[in-house]
Assembly symmetry: C2
Homo-oligomer: 144 residues x 2
């Protein structure tokens, strides 16, 4: 299969549409439990990083500090996040996912992937290969 010429200006809106719509779809596949997308995202970032201050987590999530205060408060209520004082700086706080938080995360992760995985299973081997290569390229774009 020869590569067609694909002008970036034409590909961009197509790709953007595909991504935003599929993203909506994936988000709609909400598993059991009542964590919101925002809370889930923050918890995920927190686990990934290990431990962060509210400010750092806010930066990672691209949210203002007061917003993160609220999100963390809700996660803490449910015992999914733990707050410990900073060892040397009395102003700061250290946030970390609790064991319960990590367990909830695993559950969500599985359920979210299930929907997509079942759809992917219906594709041909060729289509999946195209998506695999595309995923690499998209990751690269997102990092740029």
């Amino acid at each position: 299969m020869t590569a067609n010429r694909v002008p970036p200006a034409q590909l961009a809106p197509q790709l953007r549409d595909a991504i935003t719509r599929l993203n909506r779809r994936v988000r709609q596949a909400r598993p059991v439990g009542d964590l919101t997308v925002t809370q889930l995202s923050a918890l995920t970032s927190l686990r990934l990083a290990g431990a962060l201050t509210p400010r750092e987590l806010a930066d990672v999530e691209r949210v203002q500090p007061p917003t993160m205060t609220k999100i963390v408060a809700k996660l803490e209520e449910r015992g999914l996040v733990q707050r410990t004082p900073h060892p040397t700086d009395g102003r700061q706080v250290i946030l970390a996912a609790t064991e319960g938080g990590r367990a909830v995360l695993d559950q969500f992760e599985r359920a979210r992937n299930e929907w997509l995985a079942s759809r992917l299973a219906a594709l041909t081997e060729d289509e999946r290969d195209t998506l695999r290569r595309a995923a690499d390229i998209l990751q690269q774009l997102a990092r740029a």
Copy 2:
């Protein structure tokens, strides 16, 4: 190029990560003007369809009718959408983007695509072709 075997369970998280991250990235490239993402999306759907009733637009946007009432009200305030009575059914209303609405849309569209288009331009012809085919498959998944 032969197709590798790609188990769906393995591809799903990769693809999901790529999509959610790139989606955040695209959304952050917000252009000038004060239309929100929601309003922009509704306006886009409206222009695409030509003219719709509130109910139809709500269905397209996957939103409940009362929510669409609010969104349309804001778009109407700015003169981007026009409301006309249905010719035969007194209950219904016909919504359409005004010329001003279409102009605003063009502006946003350009600015949003710019970031992505410039990144795409840096890829090889092969990579862009992969993404083009992937975009089709992703659209298909989103509709499923």
